[in-house]
Symmetry: C2
Amino acid sequence: MNIMVENIVEALSEHLEQDQISINQTIRELHGKDESYHSISLPDVVVFPRSATDVSNIMKTASRLKVPVVPFGRGTSLEGHVIPYENGITIDFSLMDKILEIRENDLLVKVQPGVTRTQLNKELKKYGLFFSVDPGADATLGGMAATNASGTTTVKYGVMRDQVRDLEVVLADGTIMHTGNLAAKSASGFHLNGLFVGSEGTLGCFTELTLKVYGIPEFTTAARATFPTVKNAVEAVTSILQAGIPIARVELVDESSIRQVNHFSETDYAEKPTLFLEFHGNEAGLTQDVEFTQEIVKDHGCDDIQFETDNTARTKLWDARHNLAYAYIHGNVGKKMMVTDVCVPISELADAVIFARQELDAIGLTGGLTGHVGDGNFHALLMIDMNNPEEVLKAQNYNEKIVLYALERKGTCTGEHGVGVGKQKYQAAEHGEALRIMEKIKVALDPLNILNPNKIVKLESDGG
Amino acid sequence: MNIMVENIVEALSEHLEQDQISINQTIRELHGKDESYHSISLPDVVVFPRSATDVSNIMKTASRLKVPVVPFGRGTSLEGHVIPYENGITIDFSLMDKILEIRENDLLVKVQPGVTRTQLNKELKKYGLFFSVDPGADATLGGMAATNASGTTTVKYGVMRDQVRDLEVVLADGTIMHTGNLAAKSASGFHLNGLFVGSEGTLGCFTELTLKVYGIPEFTTAARATFPTVKNAVEAVTSILQAGIPIARVELVDESSIRQVNHFSETDYAEKPTLFLEFHGNEAGLTQDVEFTQEIVKDHGCDDIQFETDNTARTKLWDARHNLAYAYIHGNVGKKMMVTDVCVPISELADAVIFARQELDAIGLTGGLTGHVGDGNFHALLMIDMNNPEEVLKAQNYNEKIVLYALERKGTCTGEHGVGVGKQKYQAAEHGEALRIMEKIKVALDPLNILNPNKIVKLESDGG
């Protein structure tokens, strides 16, 4: 333990209990990576706050010592967001995992940042409510807010940012503030909720979140539809959206990915581009939506569509989609998954998916395409051997090609995974002059550059 | 014309045509007020840009001369947003009124800031599309984005901020940048769309907006329901929302306001608290929604509910709501309207409306209550004689009482009208430490404080 770490621990001990501070190697290793392929880097110290006051004291200490700080939920980020490349302090929010208040009449909940989405949904179910955002991982709500997470229901219910009514935030200097209020809308002051959501720990640490929740829909119908080509499938989605059908989920899984699922799960799904759909509403409305959707998909060459309304049958119908990442990961032991994450305007989606498929075939790596196609967001899942530099390079070049394709069409380099370190090199190309404004905001709010430094924006003179 | 104004005009003339610059007294007077009761103050010069380049040149000139700049749409703001209390240059966007692009497949439009919402909707109708945000006035879309406007459809479609996919913004120093992209979602960088929407001209001037539009609903049903008390009416709304009925509009008009409409329009609506409702969707779904709604409102004591589906009949059914402000203004010639605008958590709404009514009765001014009750946002419309200092003071005290009531219940001082100068005194109480962050952002983006100075945030050292 070098002298600097000793200083940090000593300073932290003034306000925290001994069991809230760890320099244990295993603990540090657990906080030195996320679920991505990005390289590992360990924090010097991991702290476990129990309250906003604890976090405020940690930030005051970090400011005084000019030590970098990384907030950490469950480490499920996919672009290296939580990896402390400058070392320093990692704040693990696992002890702040209480659901503080359920305001049924306001359709709001107040939670601590360490609550996970499944933990919240389990509790909400007792009230006939649910929280809508469903990224792949069982992430913490603090982490989901920090990365503006989204998922399969975004096409109907919106992204994480749309669900955040208020955040309690601890700023770089330890100040505790609130970004919003409990009203359903407000025209008062700058939109700090929106600014802090998606800031990836670079502007502040969240210590409390007030989130929108929804009544569990009266009626749910799921569907699975196969198409001769990806283009047919995507064009069917465009038509469904154009028709104003308030679809709750619409996911594409390509032919290769269905093949991977069949291979891994010993199933026999038709190996064709497949759409997985879900509809939420009242029974009569859904019946009409489903009829209309059937007509639309048939017009786009759909060769088979199956519907289910019963809960168990719906889950089974969607199995291939649910098992997709699992089938790739467990079907390619020893390899790491790299996931592209662009989002394009819907009108560009069919061509973008075809381009991504062709380029993937050209490089010859194992992988497939899936997407939240109602939003124009799709992923290529690539399985790569990290010890094979050629494969790594191929995958990186592929990712870059997909990003540049999306940016040329006024899309974004990341639809839902965030910037972290992986998408930082595209920030200038994507945002242009706006990146200067982001840098100015970062400097104004974190002048010492101690909050998750070098994520999203990279300041020239690094004070961290 | 004093020498300073001469200097400004001369400098502006380097880049603009003579007919784009006016120091005419009548023109200046038209830009010295909005639709509120706030006092008048004239700009020194009014300019009429035709392009982002024009606006950039204006901002460069203003920066060089350190002259305040106020962007101006149609002057329909309600809290003095566009009144140039520091004089200087007003940028009138009326020449930038083109609809630039309609991307049907993406459900997006690109417009210049001077396009009004009815102008846009007239054009969109040809494509079976509509733009959802409907504040009372036929405001410009640039102004609506600057104030984060909302209206009767917000309960279903969201506020202005929810519709903005990208803004072209001219910053204080003349830099032109974009805040977003055309993808339906993004996790890339800080959320500048959200920050600039609602910034009321204090962070930049909008020169182009890309906005979400919607397909005109297949089927629309309108309803009007009367209740014995305001409490019954509001509680019925809470139950409708709780039940997950995707209501598109739900407006409350109180007894006194219906009386005012009857008196002015020679109608004979039942003088009772009244809800005006609208449902958008497919026919079967709406039929079921309407049945369910009928049950709910009956449970809350509704004594009469009428439905209409035909377009003309629906408009007639809603007449009393549409004519409300008109009935007050034209029924009280010589008086000015002051409008309160708080928004509270839905669970607090019934009590808040009752409190507002009781306090209004207590001060004895003419006025009534109306509200976008699905959002918890309600207005008291007060008719005041601006030459009677006692009435003005009464109205101001009343407004303050309503604001403080809302803030105590974690609501906001303004649900949709914005801060301008009228709600500035409540910013500290509402935002606390967060106001310091807003100030830091303002200083970082507009260090000379020339962009609509002293609106939203008031900086201690005023460089404007």
